[in-house]
Amino acid sequence: MNTALLRIEDLKKYFPIRVGLFGKVVGYIKAVDGVSFNVDAGEVVSLVGESGSGKTTIARCLLLLEKPTSGKILYDSEDITQLRGEKLRNYRRSVQAVFQNPFLSLDPRMNVFQIISEPVKNSMKLSREELLEYVSSLLELVGLDKSFLDKYPHELSGGQAQRVAIARAISLKPKLIILDEPTSALDVSVQAQILNLLADLKKELSLSYLLITHDLSIVKYISDRIIIIYLGKIMETGSSEEIFENPLHPYTRILFSSIPDPYRKFGERVILRGEPPSPVNPPPGCRFHTRCPYAIDICRKQEPPEIKSSLIHKVYCWLHTEKHSSETKT
């Protein structure tokens, strides 16, 4: 476990709800409520969940855009919230991000060269010619050519803009890239190209990815490990194959049945009704029991324990305690 590049321990992020003139705190939005996982070097970990499940908040905590309420984020066994000075800069350099909408995440008043060279200028001392050379090589790496250097974001297509964003992310030779819904804003045909590019870059530059998405089809395509998250808590985690072959948590199954599949027989689909409960006042016991078709009494009262189905496949669900224990008994 010491080989983990990034290790998150019991991360919590509560947003206070303030009212009135003096900002009296009347409650907290529990966006992330005790999440632990790790990302190993060279691994692609996917964080999957519906809107409001807290996956983007985790990313924002990792990028130090939000300060976690409690818990630790360890990078190279150092807590990133405590980093200062040179070490902080080092961390920023080695963890980069690609955001959902490239048009919003690129400065509209900078051209491609300026966008990509901005972080480079900040940390490497290069002459203008060398910088130009380096930026062009990065563009080539993401499948664009030199003619894009003096284009502005509004002159690019969605896919091109996202490639520029990726070029900027790899410009500092990072170890981990946080991909926050990198393909959600793109066309389906372009999505595939971007995913292929990400897969190629991973091999070429030995990167790790933390992929945050709600799109299960891209998860299946690219990730090594999957973490299913619901209302700020982990529901199920395991290797990609295990989870796709044998989803254990009812929520995971329902998620998978929401993937469009032309060969599925009618009636096999479980449709999840209702909306996720409010994270201000999450339901007691298992977070999912209000919508779970298989909920039993204990789900409403106690938080489910961690159940290991294999070395890395873990599920947090009462239904499997009995199954598990009965299996081990026999």
């Binding site: 855009l65 920023r92 980069q96 991000a97 955001f99 400065d107 300026q114 003096d150």
Partner: protein
């Protein structure tokens, strides 16, 4: 070969701060901006070439007989002390523009600094700076400038300083408002995530995006500064050693019945400057705010 060309072209083209001025001039420019630009350019040229287009030194008394009616030699006539009004008006434009530009530069520096600090760092800094801004905003600009000049003495620098010191709050508020909205845009978060320093983010990411909204306001502020200077002059608070349109109007009012030209020409010139700047400023506001743009 082709790459070399692209590279050269690119090196030529890439500037760091890209305000949309170039775009405005080249593409759709509304008639107000156009009219404003023409008026302002003519006036600026007149102010710059003042020594070449006048043939009497300004402020020099008795270059002609007092109260000469405008004629071929004294285009705008002469005043009570026999000074050439034409030269004084032309040099007066110069004064107006210098006062407008330099006092607004002071205001822009103070205002941007305060707006940037308040808008970027929020919290207590913001509360403190914005309350100061509000307090300054409450005081009437003109009277405040009057008091400052009255206390520190009537010379040219003091007038510029006084006008600069009273006109920053509006700029500070606008810069802050722009910062508040731009700061939350995803590309700023992206820049933070990349690890750019605060200074870099403020000056190379947010400020270039904030300026287009502030520039028209600054131009209107130049206008206001010119009017304050003229107003102070009209009340007799001006440096007597510098030709000033306001001061000329002040002297003219005593002889309004007998020498109309003493009031008409400086007044006209002042109006033209103000109208020109107003057209330019309003046109820019309209151009940059698509909601006001008529289709």
């Amino acid at each position: 070969m082709k790459n070399e060309k692209i590279k050269k072209n690119f090196l030529l083209k890439s500037g760091y701060l890209q305000f949309p001025i170039k775009k405005i001039i080249l593409t759709q420019m509304n008639s107000r901006i156009f009219a404003g630009l023409i008026i302002i350019s003519i006036i600026t040229i007149m102010a710059i070439t003042a020594p070449f287009i006048t043939w009497h030194p300004p402020l020099k008394t008795l270059v002609g007989k007092p109260f000469t009616i405008p004629n071929n030699h004294y285009l705008f006539g002469t005043d009570d002390l026999g000074r050439d009004i034409y030269s004084n008006v032309i040099y007066g434009i110069r004064t107006s523009l210098i006062v407008g530009l330099s006092s607004v530069s002071i205001a822009v520096i103070i205002g941007t600094l305060i707006g940037v600090l308040a808008g970027y760092y929020r919290g207590i800094i913001e509360d403190f700076l914005m309350r100061i801004t509000d307090m300054t905003l409450i005081l009437p600009q003109f009277l405040l400038a009057l008091v400052i000049v009255a206390i520190f003495g009537q010379n040219f620098q003091n007038i510029i300083l006084a006008i600069g010191v009273v006109s920053w709050p509006g700029i500070a508020r606008m810069v802050r408002a722009e910062f508040l909205s731009i700061k939350e845009r995803p590309f700023i978060e992206a820049a933070k995530a990349i690890g750019l320093s605060d200074m870099k983010i403020i000056f190379s990411e947010i400020l270039p995006n904030a300026m287009p909204a502030v520039i028209p306001y600054i131009i209107l502020q130049i206008n206001a500064a010119i009017l304050i200077e003229a107003g102070l002059g009209f009340l007799g608070i001006a440096d007597p050693n510098v030709p000033s349109l306001g001061l000329m109007l002040n002297t003219a009012q005593q002889y309004l019945m007998n020498a109309w030209w003493m009031a008409v020409f400086p007044g006209l010139m002042l109006s033209i400057i103000v109208i020109g700047l107003n057209l330019l400023g309003d046109g820019l506001v309209e151009y940059l705010n698509p909601r006001l743009r008529k289709r």
